[in-house]
């Protein structure tokens, strides 16, 4: 079943187009220290003038061996480590890990815990998208949105700080539920944030959506078709912007997402502009979900009955959630002891980054920056 729409047939690196004027092609090393590679990504670009003939990503500069560490820590001890992968969406990482271990233990978090988890995770999605928007716009040359998004992201971080004491690597969830009850005024503050944040999304859109230069810089840049997305395993907003209506929160609902109403925003062309619109729409949907969750926050326990010393029965489980960047999967093998026998993380950034080459081919250097930005990668998660 080869898709005729797929552009992968152009993928042979060996025959680059004949360069103009017989000028030697330029090989440029972008990164690992470069302002626009969002961390320590190194991209080796082969250029003809300004046109990209091909590129290769060199990663691993931030490799900390998270999977190896997981084999040497108990289930509870490993929980904070996962926050350090996608450090701008630490809560999502924690949610995925906790739910996977809960699957192994065959327990389920109580409803109140589920609700709080949804609220915090969706807040985290907003925070992650805000950070993406700011840096992406900065890469394209608009410096001002960065400060606006950071100003508003601060409000989310304040809620986190009040809830669990940390702002970035929150370690908010525990296996089986939550450790902390919400603080007094939590619901009110979340609602306040929602009323504060709604006009802010309009403000971002006002700055960029109809901005001529922004549209010119992002429309028809880094196009990837739905077929290519699926072939590369690209997920998240990138896949949705290509027109595939697929979101794990709907497709295979986890936590208690099935109780909430929300839409899956999709794009048409799979270009950078569509990805921008999809993410903006996702922020609005997140606001919707949070509003429903916080209005229907049930009373009750926040922790399921889990043993102090966790010894899940031998077996293996793969569980994945819709992180802000795409499908974040955990594959945990238990041998019945207190430590996982093997923890495998399926990082969305790592898989999405593979598509960079096909998205950039034939574009200009400036577009590479835009595409790296629009893929929304976090190197902590790519390298683990």
């Amino acid at each position: 079943m080869t898709d005729p729409n797929s552009s992968l047939s152009h993928l042979d690196l060996e025959t680059p187009e004949k360069p103009f004027l017989d000028a030697n092609e330029l090989v440029i090393n972008m990164g690992p220290q470069h302002p626009a590679t969002h961390g320590v990504l190194r991209v080796i670009l082969r250029l003809d003038g300004e046109k990209v003939l091909g590129l290769e990503c060199v990663i691993g500069y931030l490799h900390r061996g998270v999977e190896k560490i997981g084999e040497h820590r108990t289930y509870t001890m490993f929980n904070p480590y996962v926050d350090r992968m996608d450090y701008v969406a630490a809560v999502s990482n924690g949610l995925g890990y906790c739910e996977t271990v809960e699957k192994l233990l065959n327990v389920e978090a109580p409803p109140r815990a589920q609700h709080v988890r949804v609220i915090l995770t969706e807040l985290n999605r907003i925070a992650s998208h805000q950070l993406w928007l700011g840096t992406h716009a900065l890469d394209i040359g608009a410096i001002t949105p960065l400060f606006y998004t950071f100003r508003d992201r601060e409000e989310i971080l304040k809620i986190y700080e009040k809830y669990c004491g940390a702002r970035l690597t929150t370690h908010a969830f525990r296996i089986g539920g939550l450790q902390y009850e919400t603080y007094t005024g939590f619901e009110k503050e979340v609602k306040n944030f929602l009323t504060f944040f709604r006009p802010k999304i309009d403000e971002y859109e006002e700055l960029l959506t109809t901005n001529r230069i922004w549209v010119e810089r992002t429309k028809n840049v880094g196009i990837i078709s739905a077929a290519d997305c699926i072939a590369f395993g690209v997920t998240g907003p990138v896949l949705r912007a290509s027109g595939v209506k697929w979101d794990l929160r709907k497709a295979q609902p986890y936590a208690n997402y099935k109780n909430f109403e929300f839409d899956i925003p999709i794009g048409e062309n799979g270009d950078t502009y569509d990805r921008y619109l999809v993410r903006m729409a996702e922020m609005r949907q997140s606001v919707r979900i949070i509003e429903q969750a916080v209005n229907a926050l049930p009373e009750g326990p926040i922790m399921a009955k889990v043993p102090k010393v966790m010894k899940p029965p031998a077996g293996e489980v793969y569980h994945s959630i819709e992180a802000p960047k795409g499908e974040l999967g955990y594959f945990i093998v238990s041998d019945g002891s207190t430590q996982p026998y093997r923890v495998r993380v399926r990082p969305p950034s790592f898989v999405n980054l593979q598509a960079l080459d096909v998205m950039c081919r034939g574009q200009l250097v400036a577009d590479v920056i835009a595409v790296i930005g629009t893929l929304d990668i976090v190197l902590g998660e790519v390298d683990r």
């Binding site: 440029i28 040359g141 001002t144 922004w214 810089r217």
Partner: protein
Amino acid sequence: MREIIEYISSYLTSDQTPGAAGNMFWALVYIMLVFLGLSVAVIAMNWLERKILAHMQVRLGPMRVGPHGLLQPIADAIKLLLKEDIMPAEADGFVFWMAPLIVVLAAFTVFVVVPFGPTHAITDMNIGILFMLGVSSLSVLGIVMAGWASNSHYPLIGALRSSAQMVSYEVAMGLAVVSAILMTSLNAEGTGTLSMIGIVRAQQAQGEWFVFKFFPLGLIAFFIFAVAMVAETNRAPFDLAEAESELTAGFHTEYSGFRWSLFFLAEYSAMIAVSSIAVTLWLGGWLRPFPNWLNGTPWDQIFSIFPGVTFLLFAAICFFNTVRMPKHPLFRIQTIGLAGFGVVLGLIGLVLFVPAVSLRVQDVFWFSTKVAGFMYLYIWYRGTFPRYRFDQLMQMGWKVLLPMGLGVLILTAGVALLQENIWHP
């Protein structure tokens, strides 16, 4: 001795620029004045850009060095001077050394013909505008040399970009300038002028700024120039040559310390230079608002107090912020400093009320105010626009601005011919 004094004082009664009068002494004085004024303007611009941009971006900008960060540019200058001057190992030494010099030289030399007032210019060349365009086009050489000599890929790409960009936008810029020069020829003799002072005089004689002339033709030409001049100076949204997210710092990536500060200096003085061209050609140069409509002695006197009032306003802002300073002992020095700065500004304002001074300084004041407006626009652009991509930039230059410039030129010529037929049947 007396001869020398006579030589010096003889100029004061003439109504020419020192260069045109052939007075060496005053020419030197003017050169020093322009150089000093330009340096102060660059320093002020540096501070203002950071402050204004910061306030656009919901932050405060420099606040630590001096009250409201007023001494920040000076601190930065000291830092740059003390920094180690690094030259890449494989760089082409001589060219690397020459590049910033050429850029600075080009940026400063253009001010030889900038008319701050009818007599306040170093000299008045009869090819003034041509000279300005020519010399400012030399700065691209420095940029190309810098990019090439650094022997590194990013600067090279930056240099290639900026050379292509500047050469292409010069064409559109030239066409817009020519249409303004055409307008100068709408007089009894039918001959125009390239002299900067002559151009302003022509606007005075015709009774309107060229930006409103043959509406909307003058406006379109002005618009073309206003876009092209941002591209010429490599500023946002056309700052591809130094696009930091793509090329780290573009052509001056490998420069550091003093040499880098030369590029910085050149960039800002080039901005002032092109703004001066725009002001001279379209916005009436040193002319005060409505010189023909609101003429007569009372109006002259009303307009002559503007410089002083402006400085008093600045002083008032300073004093207002002095009162708002935190009342903490640690802030005492800063508070005193701010108040002192306010006093200095106020004194300048008071001096400007003296008729003899205000008469001579008025032209400079109006000219600088107009240029300052452009400077604010530059900062505003930087705060709001994303960056163009290279091919889009070229498309804009060649496919939009150039045809527009040609069209405006032809239309201006046509309209001018028609009017001339009506005037001189």
